[in-house]
């Protein structure tokens, strides 16, 4: 199966000169991904290689398909009855876009952080322990260890360590979002998808999230959708520009933001876009 993916690499990637092959390991190989909502083609033949242990930013105007792309990776699009998908998404030698894929295992490997902080109305501890619990961890001590480790990785441990049994709703918006990141990390995902994770937060909280992403990228692959160009330029190693369901340009963030090769990319990153 891995061989298949590599074969496809050759074919479809050489074709598009605006798609740069990332240096280093590849985490996700997406091939000819199409997504329809009823008759509307939301993603049009998207092929991309997403680098491992690196931050990849997806930018583009609203409705360009970047969130749809993100939600295809962990199959959250399945929840929308009218959504249809074709194409392949290769992760660890498995085509996760295949209808027979075990989405439970997939989503354990591919965590997600949403636009608005969405902690459960439970305690901080129970929020982080939710994932491990549903995957069968019941030992108290083990859970406590996982919770502590995850909160530390999400850089929120010091703020909440004394009241882990307080309701998650008592935290500020920025803290809630880091708690949600901790909750996602608690099931040890290989990939973390972030859908505009800072768009509902103030600048200081945003900065904290960005610092956190920098720490995390040594261990996991992060794909972030953002409307904030500065943010994309600051945090990401690679950037993909989406427009009307197509991946227009993909490459090193430094190149995309300083010397874009496509006129449309240039217009968008310089703010001249409609």
């Amino acid at each position: 199966m891995v061989a298949d993916a590599e074969l496809l690499d050759e074919e479809s990637f050489q074709k598009n000169e605006l798609h740069v092959e990332p240096a280093g390991d590849i985490c996700l190989s997406v091939r000819n991904l199409n997504v329809w909502y009823s008759d509307f083609l939301a993603l049009n033949d998207v092929s991309i290689n997403i680098p491992a242990r690196e931050i990849t930013a997806l930018i583009g105007p609203s409705g360009c398909g970047k969130s749809t792309f993100l939600r295809s990776i962990n199959r959250m699009n399945d929840l929308i009855p009218s959504a249809r998908t074709s194409g392949e998404i290769w992760l660890d030698g498995e085509n996760v876009a295949d209808p027979n894929t075990d989405v439970v295992r997939l989503r354990k490997n591919v965590g997600m952080v949403f636009q608005r902080p969405n902690p459960f109305p439970k305690s901080i501890f129970d929020n982080v322990a939710y994932g491990p619990r549903i995957h069968g961890v019941n030992d108290r001590r083990e859970l406590a260890m996982i919770v502590e480790k995850s909160l530390k990785r999400a850089a929120i441990w010091d703020e909440v360590k004394d009241d882990l049994h307080k309701s998650a709703f008592d935290l500020s918006g920025g803290q809630q979002q880091r708690l949600c990141i901790a909750r996602a990390l608690a099931v040890e995902p290989k990939v973390l998808l972030m859908d505009e994770p800072a768009s509902a937060l103030d600048p200081i909280s945003t900065l904290k999230i960005e610092e956190l992403m920098h720490e995390l990228k040594n261990e996991i692959t992060i794909v972030i959708v953002t409307h904030n160009m500065q943010q994309a330029a600051r945090v990401s190693g690679y950037t993909g520009f989406f427009l009307m369901g197509e991946l227009i340009e993909f490459g090193r963030s430094t190149d995309i933001f300083t010397t874009p090769r496509d006129k449309r990319t240039e217009d968008y990153v310089t703010g001249r876009f409609g």
Partner: protein, 331 residues
């Protein structure tokens, strides 16, 4: 300015002419009641045309408050009347002894016990089926023909007159399934009657749980069932319990469905099993009000008061549960 005032007077005049003609027509045909209603309504709504700005807002606000008040009045009146008339009948004997002297004296214990059994029996059947159906509709069902049919069935079930439920219970449970007139048959019939209320309330409670909670859970690799049990249900409990109790208290007061399926005219002994007949408060009230000559009115008022206390008690429990859970709910 002058123009707008003229416009206003014109529309007011049209309005008044319309009401006056309507009233005169009614009077001409000796329809006193409609005429009175039309005149009153005309007077009540006239200021909404003549008044302007803040005064108009205030007038309409007052109108709305009074309408709301009219909803409270019947409730207070019922409670007041039943308490005043029924209280003299209240005694330890009344709620702890069976009826005596052809149901003209004694107590109503068998009816209280019977209604309690019926409530419990209804809960036993209506809760699991109603809750599971609501979970299916809210969490699993995809829009399609089957879901549409189920929803249509629920709406229609809610619209079926209660006496039809009684005959349905007689036909299906009593005769076809040979459960005889028994607490079991009555509970099943009442459960069917309660189901639409339970399902609708539970589904509403489930779907009011924010979608983001479900997404968060599913994105962590939880199955739909895990998500439902661990995230959705705990946050919908208050709504579900409220709907449940309101449905059940409705069933507790129904007479027609139990008429042919369980209710006994008079029983000296309490029921021994779910296959026995039982007396029930609503039916007993009907019996001593219409079937027993010279039954003292205080027995009737007393029975009605006990039934009301049981039903209001259940509603009170629902209210307490609702406020208790609402306090811990923060989204």
């Amino acid at each position: 300015m002058a123009n707008s005032r003229i416009e206003k007077l014109k529309s007011a005049a049209g309005y008044i002419v319309f009401w006056v003609i309507a009233a005169i027509l009614c009077l001409a045909y000796h329809m006193w009641l409609p005429a009175g209603a039309i005149i009153c309504l005309g007077l009540v709504f006239l200021p909404t045309i003549l008044l302007d700005g803040l005064a108009k807002q205030k007038y309409i606000f007052t109108l709305l408050s009074f309408s709301a008040l009219f909803v409270v009045l019947p409730v207070l009146a019922i409670i007041y009347l039943l308490t005043v008339k029924g209280f003299p009948a209240m005694s330890w004997e009344f709620i702890s002894k069976p009826p005596t002297n052809m149901m003209r004296d004694g107590g109503i214990l068998p009816a209280i016990v019977g209604t309690t059994y019926l409530v419990i029996g209804t809960l036993v059947f209506a809760v699991p089926i109603g809750l599971l159906a609501a979970i299916y509709l809210s969490e699993y069902a995809k829009p399609g023909r089957f879901t549409r049919i189920v929803r249509l069935a629920i709406v229609n079930l809610a619209g079926v007159p209660s006496v039809v439920y009684g005959l349905f219970g007689l036909g299906l449970f009593v005769m076809m399934l040979k459960l005889r007139t028994s607490i079991l048959s009555g509970s099943l019939t009442l459960a069917v009657l309660t189901l639409p209320v339970v399902i609708t309330a539970a589904e509403e409670a489930l779907s009011s749980v924010p979608r983001s909670f479900r997404e968060a859970s599913l994105a962590l690799g939880a199955t739909r069932w895990q998500t439902t049990v661990k995230v959705v249900l705990p946050n919908a409990v208050s709504g579900i319990v409220t709907g449940l109790i309101l449905g059940i208290s409705r069933a507790a007061g129904e007479t027609a469905p139990i008429l042919f399926t369980v209710a006994a005219f008079y029983l000296r002994d309490l029921p021994h099993s779910i296959f026995d007949q039982a007396m029930a408060l609503p039916y007993h009230l009907y019996v001593i009000s219409t079937q027993v000559p010279n039954a003292p009115p205080k027995m009737q008022w007393g029975t009605a008061l006990v039934l009301l206390i049981m039903v209001l008690g259940m509603n009170l429990v629902a209210a307490i549960i609702r406020t208790k859970f609402r306090r811990s709910k923060k989204w």
